[in-house]
Amino acid sequence: MMQPTRRATLFVTCIVDQMYPEIGEATAVLLQAQGVAVRVPRGLTCCGQMALNAGFRDEAYAVAGRTIEVLRGQGDIVLPSGSCTAMIRHLYHELFHGTPHQQAAEALIGRTYELTEYLVDVLGVQDVGAHYAARATYHDACHGLRYLDLSRQARTLLAHVRGLELVPLPACTECCGFGGLFAVKQAAISGAMLQRKLANITSTSADLLITGDASCMTQIAGGLKRNAAPVQVRHIAEVLVGR
């Protein structure tokens, strides 16, 4: 490993922390391999998106406010999630406007990055030296795509992965139907959207679906499993640490 030249704070998000620790570890490994000293503050939990998304502003404010304080003065923040990054970068403005957290929130917004964005746009990396044998297709998660302008970064990184054949996914920018509590509250609509996504995925005859958000992964993998479709689902960080 090269000598650390930068440092970053890793905020893995609550869903990765509790359900997909391997994504968090892959993210740390990727950053360290680029000479980034990674720290993980004890006690980080959640960006507050679930509550804000459901309309519970006070609860979201309380949780996000604490997160802002935990991340105060912690340098660059990197998340393996376009959605949680967009929560901070796009929605913290309005949530904390005119509150005691406003200044810390604005400072945090200015130094928060999604993983592929951090690798490609901040560190200038295109090839992480990965090897991953699969015929894969890529789903663009909505919030990263539309609030952070993510799309090119992941494709650049994946194009350099040895052994990976990347095939285009029809309607790759169409929502998978997750949408937080939408998946439960509007389960029928969410299910209909999911079925369209699954049909597009299976039409590619890819054996691997890659995406950048654990929430879309949960939705899509759950649907593929239910349909007994022989397609694996991986977070992009897991693919990029393939050796």
């Binding site: 609550c14 509790q18 620790p21 993980v40 369209r196």
Partner: protein, 475 residues
């Protein structure tokens, strides 16, 4: 019609189970999306044009009182009459009284969402006035007794077979699925109505403050007949639809048809300027402009003012994966899709389950991306959810769950303990396969449609702490 009386969730279920509707949506929606994209891609600088269009809409709203006054003054100077209608009832009353005063028996209408919004036909029919819709789509849904399921394509939920059946029943047409035969049939019936009508009612796409002109954008030419053949023309315009000048209008027209139907310009773009002047061969003897507020000035002064930038192109409906799944009627009001989910709760806050509409979105942002004036629809949907919660419109147990969620997320020890518990339970239930096939309420909706993964044996933060310790120094 009956569907719309049901609660929101039942309407959604109906829509998803309706195979004819699903077939119509599958066929039609991708076409709209593709045509719009093609039309916009042909522009030299799409982004700049949309920015300009947005700036023009922002200017119109910022100077709404001034521009509306100018518009009204110019219309009156040309011999037209202006009615400032605070709500739908006032607008309906004005038209009904005018019709009675002028001994109007028969009315033809061209397409107008503002008139749909205030249920004008029902209001006029209550005064024994006969109103005939002349836009083909509107005519179809008038015959079938429905409301529009799309802002610009009101009958998009129907297949040609259904329409053929309807024309057989209502118009005595011979059985056919041939579209030209159906349009010819409608045309023959409607021509007669145009000739008989004493009054024509139209909407307004844009009112031009500096010239007092009304602009109508159509593809069928029915608006030209509606506004020129009958002796009285009444135009209904939502107060937000004013532009200052012809230059502003030129920009708006460039984005409107492209966003709506993928056309560079609609087939007819009609400029109207009030009653016939001496020496002119045709046109109405009387012109009335109804400036409809109906809750708009309340929206203007709120956190939702941006919603008034909407030019009713329907692009957000076409782009919306929720609309693509359920169509327009499931929304329950005349405005559907993302813009409907924003403005319906604002225009009609008293409709019982209208507060549910802002939840009919994954906040994916496709609507804002498609909107020619980039209205921040997802942000407003989010704000409306916040308002609903603040007003106490939450499901039973939801508040308690969120309070517990907050307590857990803000207490790392509790968060860790909760994670451990979830891990033990889900792994126990998930067994060797590692998935949950059935979750209990309120999460049961998840497992109706997909499996749920088990929680990890050990969380990332615990693994990290075990390997790196819990000190705060960088590794």
């Amino acid at each position: 019609m009956a569907t719309q009386m049901l609660p929101f969730y039942d309407r959604v279920e109906d829509a998803l189970q309706n195979s004819t509707l699903q077939h119509a949506l599958e066929r039609n929606m991708p076409r709209f999306v593709a045509l719009r994209a093609q039309a916009l891609n042909k522009l030299i600088d799409e982004a700049a044009l949309r920015d300009q269009a947005r700036a023009i809409r922002a200017k119109s709203l910022a100077r709404l009182d001034e521009l509306l006054t100018r518009l009204a003054d110019t219309v009156e100077a040309r011999g037209g009459h202006v009615c400032w209608a605070t709500d739908g009832k006032a607008a309906g009353q004005y038209i009904a009284e005018l019709a009675q005063r002028q001994a109007v028996k028969s009315i033809v209408k061209s397409k107008s969402m503002a008139s749909e919004e205030i249920h004008l036909n029902a209001q006029l029919e209550a005064h024994s006035l006969e109103v005939i819709e002349t836009d083909l789509g509107e005519y179809i849904i008038q015959l079938s007794g429905e409301t529009p399921s799309h802002i610009i394509a009101p009958a998009i939920h129907m297949t040609r077979q259904e329409i053929g059946q309807l024309f057989q029943e209502k118009l005595g047409m011979e059985p056919t699925e041939d579209i030209p035969t159906m349009t010819r049939t409608a045309r023959r019936v409607l021509r007669q109505r145009f000739v008989q009508a004493d009054m024509g009612i139209s909407g307004v796409n844009f009112g031009i403050a500096e010239s007092g002109g009304m602009v109508l954008v159509t593809n069928e030419g029915n608006a030209d007949l509606t506004t020129s053949v009958p002796r009285i023309h009444v135009a209904i315009m939502g107060i937000e639809r004013v532009v200052e000048s012809l230059d502003d209008l030129a920009v708006m027209l460039q984005v409107l048809a492209r966003s709506a139907t993928g056309q560079k310009l609609s087939v007819y773009t009609t400029f109207l300027s009030g009653p016939t002047r001496p020496g002119e061969p045709d046109g109405p003897e009387e012109f009335h402009l109804i400036l409809l507020d109906n809750g708009r000035s309340r929206i203007l002064g709120s956190a939702y003012a941006e919603a008034l930038m909407c030019i009713r192109c329907g692009a957000c409906l076409n782009a919306c994966p929720v609309y693509q799944s359920i169509g327009g009627h499931a929304y329950g009001g005349v405005y559907s899709g993302p813009i409907g989910s924003v403005i319906s709760p604002l225009l009609q806050p008293d409709v019982p389950d209208v507060h549910q509409l802002p939840y009919a979105s994954t906040l994916c942002g496709a609507c804002q991306e498609a909107c020619p004036v980039r209205i921040a629809l997802p942000d407003m949907l989010l704000r409306l959810r916040g308002d609903a919660v603040q007003a106490g419109k939450v499901a039973p147990g939801e508040q308690a769950a969120m309070t517990a969620w907050q307590a857990t997320m803000n207490n790392p020890a509790l968060y860790r303990a909760g994670g451990t518990m979830a891990s033990i339970i889900t792994r126990l239930v998930g067994g060797r396969e590692g998935v949950l096939k059935q979750l209990p309420p309120p999460l049961a909706g998840w497992t109706q449609h997909r499996d749920f993964p088990t929680f990890a044996k050990q969380s990332f933060s615990e693994r990290w702490a075990a390997q790196h310790g819990t000190d705060e120094e960088p590794q």
